[in-house]
Symmetry: C2
Subunit: 228 residues, 2 copies
Amino acid sequence: MAAGEERETVDERMRMAELSKRSGVSVPTIKYYLREGLLMPGELSSPNQAGYGAEHVRRLRMIRALIEVGGLSVAAIGDVLSAVDGPELSRFELLGVVTGTLDNPQPLNDDSEVARARAEVDAAFRRRGWDLEFRASAIDTLVGVLVRMSQLGYGSWASEALDTYLDAAERVAEIDVEHSLRISERAEVVDGAALMTILGEAALGAARRIAHIQVSARKLGQLDEREA
Amino acid sequence: MAAGEERETVDERMRMAELSKRSGVSVPTIKYYLREGLLMPGELSSPNQAGYGAEHVRRLRMIRALIEVGGLSVAAIGDVLSAVDGPELSRFELLGVVTGTLDNPQPLNDDSEVARARAEVDAAFRRRGWDLEFRASAIDTLVGVLVRMSQLGYGSWASEALDTYLDAAERVAEIDVEHSLRISERAEVVDGAALMTILGEAALGAARRIAHIQVSARKLGQLDEREA
């Protein structure tokens, strides 16, 4: 094949070696994703020969992003992709599946400390006008942080910070949801929502770590000046 | 021992079985943390008998919080606790160690897409008056999200959302840093900073997932009304 033809053949079926080259994912890993059902099978051109297309390259990029940036396990990616590929879920149901894969709250004891933290979270939700009917598993993660910080002697930080954290989270969620509502193709709605939820969380965590360093440097600099 | 005496003996040295009971961590797990150096050794009262105190209960709670809420590996916890226990690091150096354990950015290719995303991030930092000298590894995580979203066709979300994400992160970091500057005891500064950074990130992620559900429900409800 002449070099000039390459661009035009992108959408023709390619063999696995070519798929590996284009996606940067090794052949054994591609075979593993096929066996695990994360990657859809290629089109059989003969009993021993499958052809792959641009949709396979894209799917591999999505899998790699969910693993490398999102830190998801192969099993969790399986859940997300089944929701993306599966019977038509509403946007809202899909969001439940995707946010659920990011959550792994430890069971909370049914004690007075947990009850106090739950009441604190509920009160903060009510101040924001949030609907207490939606019992997302992430609520237990949040309650768990309050309980543990309080047990370790930092309960005042947790109580002080809660409204600011929820406020920051809501501003970010507004942008994400606004954007996802402007996407109209179903295929894009579902994988876009999954990617935004998962990669966006990694981005927000990274942004907070960077901001911690920036804000500390600024405030400690100010302190040094005051002390000097 | 009479039940009434129990409270008064909390600070007396206890045996491992008692430490396990108070902390809720099993004896084999406590032994594992001792071997890995995460838990400081007890005080030897005889060659085969060590005594543990309130500082051991607290340390076990901290380890469990970092594993169960923060999702840290035992190796990462080792890094955090060495920084906490180790030679006096400045607040700022400690923050570098702690934020570093949360980061696992994949190496980025040195291509034009990465260069474009880096320039975008730098420009956003400049708009906030952030110092570009601090090359936190989290910056690569952020650049990685921009590159991958753009490869997957959602570059417009990433570019649109970047300032809002950084703004949300900065507000949260302000609260955290303000609070940590009010803590004056060195022991508390170091473990408080570590806990706030790590558990706070889990809390912010959870808050965003909850907010996604709340905001989606609100906006989809509004859409339904408009369409009806």
